[in-house]
């Protein structure tokens, strides 16, 4: 579904990720884990044209999307949920969701998407008129995900959805991710919570120093090299 070939990207001329060859098939959950500063978030951002791509190509459904603008990518069915449960805190939950559907003008489509999102996230329906800033951390993360789902997305990029959340909400977020998969949405999830991420993922990539260090299925955490990647000095 999405393939990157020798992708090198970063910010302001500094290469953060180098030669990444990555693949996700339709309906898959692919997890990206690894130590801090390994370039996991940068990789997601480079797909969504929020980081600078220096070389390599990105293909989505066999189409070269490397040079597409962020808002064009949304039309093609790629959505991005940024790190840190970023919601519009001075706007209501409903307004946040409406902004998720900003690119659409078809009122009926927006309404259908909204109903769908409300079914998935009932807490948001209950609190639709509350300011997003007054929600709990977990609810804000739900809202950030729900907002991306307003875009009739096919590929969801999730950047550290469990960061800073209470354990109860962490489980809930991961359950939602599995639920979305069952609806046919492909998901790339970047996570600090390596164990949980690998558990729900079909495949996992481990990043180290801007490169893919390991790739595998659920057995990946048993790999002896993990320790070296996370704790090993060089």
């Amino acid at each position: 579904m999405l393939i990157t070939k020798n992708l090198t990207a970063g910010y302001k001329g500094i290469e953060v990720i180098k030669d990444i060859n990555f693949k996700i098939e339709p309906g898959e959950i692919v997890a990206i884990i690894g130590p801090n500063g390994a370039g996991k978030s940068t990789f997601l951002k480079s797909i969504f044209n929020l980081a600078e791509v220096y070389s390599g190509r990105i293909y989505f459904k066999d189409k070269d999307i490397t040079d597409f603008e962020t808002h064009e990518l949304i039309y093609y069915g790629i959505s991005y949920v940024p790190q840190g449960r970023l919601v519009f805190s001075n706007m209501t939950v409903l307004e946040n969701l409406e902004m998720g559907a900003f690119i659409f003008n078809d009122k009926k489509l927006i309404k259908n998407n909204l109903e769908h999102v409300y079914r998935e996230f009932q807490v948001l329906k209950r609190k639709k008129d509350e300011l997003a800033g007054n929600l709990s951390g977990g609810e804000q993360q739900m809202l950030a995900m729900a907002r991306a789902l307003m875009q009739s997305t096919e590929l969801l990029l999730l950047d550290e959805p469990s960061l800073g959340l209470a354990p109860k909400f962490v489980s809930e977020i991961f359950e939602k991710v599995l639920k979305l998969k069952s609806e046919g949405i492909s998901i790339i999830i970047v996570e600090q919570n390596a164990k949980k991420a690998v558990e729900i993922a079909d495949r996992t990539y481990i990043f180290e120093d801007g490169k893919i260090a390991l790739e595998g299925g659920k057995e990946i955490l048993k790999d002896p090299r993990i320790k070296e990647i996370y704790f090993g000095g060089r």
Partner: protein
């Protein structure tokens, strides 16, 4: 006396709110202090003077052209000056300096073209004030209050109900997230300048009719509008309106106790009190 001061305060508040709301709108979205907003006010007043008093065009036609002119001017300052600076990753302080430069440039341009003497638009003949509750108010002043209230309510509804208004609030809230949802922040910046400057244009026309034209009128209004915006909570449009009326009322009631020459001093004492004890303003959020 009380009623007269109340009415004077409301008139001043209405004028300040027209200045402060446009300024605050631009600030909340673009996150920098657009001081040249003041000179947009002056220019629209002079533009009306030029079209109506010099060229002799129809008054209402001239008014509409002046508002469009102000809007276009705001749009162009953003496109020609600020956008270019943003592209070069200029900090907000640089943008502030640029806006002060623009203010001085346009003010000097007006001096050059129209001279330093006071100009009168002269559409409204000096009319006797109407007496309401033992206070005197002119028909123009009533118009000023009504126009400002209608404008502010429409601005509020626009920001609350329309898709563009909501997108503007989204960019004001978090530009980067808005971008990831397909909202182009540059487009929204342009819209904030178009709408904010149109309100400034209307302010320029009303003030021009009420107090005549001077090259520095916009700068003086801008200082008051800025003060009002800080009192009300910078970045909050409703706050800036609240601050404007508060400022207008306090200034006018202040001269009950002090000589009228202290009017400006009263405004700045309030500014200092707010900066010291409640820097986020009345409706602002402490960050």
């Amino acid at each position: 006396m009380f009623n007269q001061l109340l009415i004077n305060g409301l008139i001043a508040g209405a004028i300040y709110s027209l200045v402060a709301s446009g300024f605050s709108l631009i600030y909340s979205i673009c996150k920098f202090v657009h001081f040249a907003h003041g000179v947009v006010i002056t220019l629209s007043g002079y533009f009306l003077y030029f079209l109506f008093s010099k060229l002799g065009l129809n008054f209402w036609f001239s008014v509409i052209l002046s508002i469009i002119f102000a809007s276009l001017l705001g749009f162009l300052t953003d496109k020609v000056v600020y956008k270019q600076l943003r592209k070069r990753k200029a900090s907000n302080t640089i943008l502030l300096m640029a806006s002060v430069a623009l203010l001085i440039f346009f003010e000097s341009l007006i001096l050059l073209l129209f001279g330093a003497d006071v100009k009168t638009i002269g559409y409204i003949k000096i009319s006797k004030g109407i007496e309401i509750f033992n206070a005197i108010i002119t028909p123009l002043q009533i118009v000023i209050i009504i126009v400002s209230i209608i404008l502010l309510i429409s601005l509020f509804l626009f920001m609350k109900k329309t898709k563009l208004g909501k997108a503007m609030r989204a960019v004001a809230d978090n530009k980067d997230v808005a971008e990831t949802l397909g909202i182009s922040s540059e487009k929204i910046y342009s819209w904030s300048f178009i709408i904010g400057s149109a309100i400034a244009g209307i302010a320029g026309i009303l003030v021009g009719l009420e107090q005549n034209l001077e090259p520095t009128m916009g700068t003086n209004l801008m200082i008051k509008g800025f003060t009002a915006a800080i009192i009300g909570g910078i970045g909050s449009v409703p706050g800036s309106i609240l601050g404007s009326f508060l400022l207008g009322l306090v200034e006018n009631f202040g001269i009950w106790f002090l000589p009228s020459g202290y009017k400006d001093a009263i405004a700045f004492i309030i500014l200092f009190i707010f900066l010291l004890f409640r820097p986020q303003g009345i409706l602002g959020v402490r960050r």
